[in-house]
């Protein structure tokens, strides 16, 4: 393959796509192993076909595959590929612009449109390759395990899943093309994706919510259960149409904008600083404070991301308790009939109770994802970020031991995670008190403390990898992969008598394993989570001290 904008962009990310696909394949293996251990005939004999259908399980398709595929690909596989697509999309234009290499690229006889077209083609290729790999894994894993998945439309599932990932990647690319801000591009695309995912699961439970849910891209992907019913032409057209529209928006944005030469965002603070009347005040408030120590500087570096993550957590936390009171009574009955394996598929909770609903919609996936995105970003950038930006040499030219740098960065991570934990607690408490739902505030507090500790564990893991390798992408990938695997372990292993003790290796086990929303604070589990954080940070110190620094 010759070197051009397209091939360089593809080559840069191909390994990431491959790793993600292998990781998802391994997790599929896991899930299938657990499900093949269950006696499924109970479900098929005792449950009405319509109920099974609504969960995307066809009686003809043998069931087992349906459950495992639905659980793995509709959530973990889809999130993994979409997350990768967002990272690629955000890096395409905005990433190069921030690094200052876009100007170099455009100094060659290439129009902006042509560069963008090459980047778009690379994004499509990579997402396509990812979907293809998942498709291959989807056939290979069951064959190796000798499980019959006849009747399942793996191809149709991958088509919708790939189109879904492409859509979020295109959104990130378009935002990046308009703003030149990779952080904003990936943040907004990921935020909208999570909201869309949540909306597509919650809205249909409400009267008249179906129509609203149909507006959400995640619904276009999952609603018709393509693994059972095959390709839905209408929804696929919607997905691809949205991709095309976002691509067009990206072209328009990039063509009409002044490009930066490795610049940064102009914030409100900057405007106030530029104004002579407010200059002195801003200097006193922001200038001095944010550079007073490594901890405060690091905290202020991640202000924007923390604000976005906190806002998302607050929004979900306030909204969901009242939402529960709007649910029609049939929902509780419906969930009361569900077997455990299906409850696991929707996040391992009984949505028929207030605590179960809160756990499912707020605490089991959304807030952990939001927190881990923040802590993993802080942890990965803490050491490797400064190395990659070549500021670590300057920082260490001061009389600061490397150990202190690690500890300062860890301290800022604790502060930032605590902010999100606190906001989640305040939001969910407000939501619970406003709606009068039966959840104890003390139990909410316990859960928020636990989720903060959980986020810190994965942040510390990112920090350890960051300290040992000096590479941001390695650190974030490690934390994200570990989080996905840990989630799957805790959700599915307890279903099987043979594997259930193994769930104890997952940090998620110490977070929700004891059902803290109803039983309160499990002090032992909290100690395990806190201890893991301390150990990981303690390991990061020698890893960082022993290494030749990059840059």
């Amino acid at each position: 393959m010759g070197l051009n904008t397209y091939s360089v962009a593809v080559r840069d990310r191909l390994t990431g796509v491959l790793v993600a696909a292998v990781a998802v394949a391994v997790m599929l293996w896991f899930t299938l192993a657990v499900y093949s251990d269950l006696d499924l005939s109970f479900y098929y004999d005792n449950m009405p076909p319509s109920l099974l259908e609504s969960f995307g399980i066809s009686t003809e398709a043998g069931g087992l595959g349906g459950l495992a595929y639905g659980a793995m690909y509709n959530l973990i596989g889809a999130l993994a590929l979409a997350g990768l697509a967002i990272a690629i999309g955000a890096a395409s234009i905005a990433g190069e612009e921030q690094r200052g290499t876009l100007g170099l690229l455009l100094a060659n006889p290439r129009s902006r449109s042509r560069v963008l077209a090459a980047k778009l083609a690379a994004l499509v290729t990579l997402v396509g390759a990812g979907a293809l790999l998942l498709y291959a894994a989807g056939h290979l894993v069951p064959r190796l395990m000798d499980i019959d998945i006849g009747g399942l439309h793996v191809g149709a599932l991958m088509l919708h899943l790939g189109a879904n990932a492409l859509l979020w990647g295109m959104l990130a690319l378009a935002v990046g093309a308009w703003t030149g801000q990779p952080g904003l591009a990936s943040g907004s695309a990921a935020g909208l994706m999570v909201l869309s995912y949540l909306g597509s699961s919650v809205l249909p439970l409400l009267d008249g919510g179906d129509t609203a849910a149909k507006m959400l891209p995640w619904t276009w992907f999952t609603e018709t259960a393509p693994e059972v019913n095959g390709v839905s032409t209408g929804y696929l057209a919607l997905q691809l149409g949205a991709c095309a529209a976002l691509a067009a928006i990206a072209f328009v944005g990039l063509r009409r904008r002044d490009l930066r030469s490795g610049g940064s965002m102009t914030t409100l603070m900057d405007r106030l600083r530029a104004n002579p009347r407010t200059h002195a005040l801003v200097e006193r408030v922001s200038g001095q404070a944010r550079v007073s120590s490594i901890t405060t500087k690091t905290v202020s570096d991640h202000q924007v991301l923390t604000t976005i993550v906190s806002a998302l957590a607050l929004y979900i936390a306030i909204l969901m308790p009242p939402f529960y009171t709007f649910l029609p009574g049939e929902v509780s009955e419906f969930f009361a009939q569900l077997p455990d394996a299906m409850i696991a598929m929707v996040g391992g909770v009984d949505m028929g109770t207030a605590t179960g609903f809160l756990q499912g919609e707020v605490f089991s996936i959304t807030v952990p994802i939001a927190l881990i995105v923040l802590t993993a970003t802080v942890g990965a950038h803490a050491l490797a970020g400064e190395e990659e930006a070549r500021t670590m040499g300057l920082l260490l030219a001061n009389a600061i031991p490397r150990r202190a740098v690690v500890l300062h960065k860890a301290a800022s991570m604790v502060i930032l995670a605590a902010v999100v934990g606190l906001v989640t607690f305040l939001g969910s408490t407000a939501g619970v008190l406003l709606s009068g739902v039966d959840v104890a505030v003390a139990d909410l507090a316990a859960t928020c403390v636990l989720v903060t500790l959980l986020g810190l564990d994965f942040g510390a893991l990112a920090m350890l990898v960051s300290a040992a390798t000096g590479r941001v992408r390695a650190a974030t990938s490690a934390a994200a992969g570990a989080a996905g695997a840990a989630y799957v372990l805790q959700t599915f292993l307890p279903l099987s008598d043979r594997y259930d003790q193994w769930a104890a290796v997952s940090p998620f086990h110490y977070y929700l394993g004891s059902d803290p929303l109803t039983t309160g604070m499990p002090w032992g589990d909290a100690a395990v989570l806190a201890g893991a954080f301390v150990v990981l940070v303690a390991l990061a110190v020698p890893a960082f001290q022993r290494r030749d620094l990059r840059g």
Partner: protein, 301 residues
């Protein structure tokens, strides 16, 4: 304080098979401006980063201000200012905030002195560093290296992007430091920059320290490219005979040659037999000086 500011003993750094530094023995005294000269990739930055404990030597050791570069790294840094090559700063901070940040981390920085340095270099501290020109970014880097009045200032190719007027002021700042008995260690790949400010020069190539010379001696060894213009054509042979003249070419009324001999002799020939109209002399590039060095080494053997 009589101990050397920098003393390396058989300092070596290898990356796999690549030997970036080989048995470097170097001593830089207090109150000295020392130039570290070598082409790109010679090992200048590797040496500096090793001495600052950013990377660790494969073999050998370095003493900075009498302390071991690894075990006393933090105590050393309290007394050392550092400007990395290819400087990168925090894009979201202004120049002033960047300096405040480092001043806070260091402690004991006299802010009035920072303002004086900024004025001397005509540095604009109000904009975000991402909006700076490379010259202004470099000025912020220089100020942070000088601002704590360290006993030793280590700078890796510090003049990058700075215009000639500011360079003069910068050189004056370096000499001020030396007058106060403090030490400046700067790396460069241009001889002229080092010549103007340094007392001694170490020459490094492919990881080997080839020689350490007083600048005065180096200058006398340096090859120059000389162009002589006469009012009438002059024969090349007249000049080819002078000791130290090479590659003599006569073209129309001008004669061009590479020269590392005695300038007196050259001028005697030029003015004695011909009518000299113009003379143009510029230093040869580093590679030619190295070649001259190697020729010298071979001749001695």
């Amino acid at each position: 304080m009589s101990e050397p500011a920098i003393k390396t003993t058989r300092l070596s750094k290898s990356y796999g098979d690549v030997r970036a530094l080989v048995d470097l023995d170097l001593s830089v005294g207090p109150g000295e401006v020392f130039g570290f000269l070598g082409p790109n990739g010679a090992g200048k930055s590797t040496m500096i980063r090793t001495v600052l404990d950013l990377i660790r030597p494969t073999r050998g050791s370095a003493q900075i201000l009498g302390m071991d570069s690894h075990t006393d790294a933090v105590r050393i840094r309290r007394r050392v200012g550092y400007l990395p090559s290819d400087l990168a700063l925090y894009p979201k901070l202004t120049g002033r905030d960047t300096l405040r940040y480092f001043a806070n981390l260091r402690g004991g920085v006299d802010w009035a002195y920072v303002e004086r340095l900024a004025a001397r270099l005509q540095a604009d501290l109000d904009k975000k560093t991402s909006d700076y020109s490379s010259g202004n970014r470099q000025k912020v880097g220089i100020i942070q290296a000088f601002m704590s009045r360290p006993d030793l200032i280590i700078m890796d190719e510090p003049s990058t992007g700075i215009d000639p007027l500011v360079q003069q002021e910068f050189q004056a700042m370096m000499r001020d430091v030396a007058h106060e008995g403090r030490t400046v260690f700067l790396s460069s790949h241009t001889l002229s920059e080092v010549q103007r400010v340094a007392d001694r020069v170490g020459i490094i190539r492919d990881g080997h320290l080839i020689d350490v010379e007083r600048v005065h001696d180096l200058r006398s060894k340096a090859i120059r490219r000389v162009e002589l213009v006469f009012d009438a054509p002059a024969p090349a042979e007249d000049f080819a005979r002078i000791e130290g003249a090479r590659d003599v070419e006569a073209h129309d009324t001008s004669v061009r040659l590479a020269f590392d001999g005695n300038m007196d002799e050259l001028l005697q020939v030029a003015t004695g037999r011909h009518h000299l109209v113009d003379i143009n002399s510029e230093e040869a590039d580093l590679e030619e000086i190295f070649l001259a060095y190697y020729r010298g080494e071979e001749a001695r053997v």
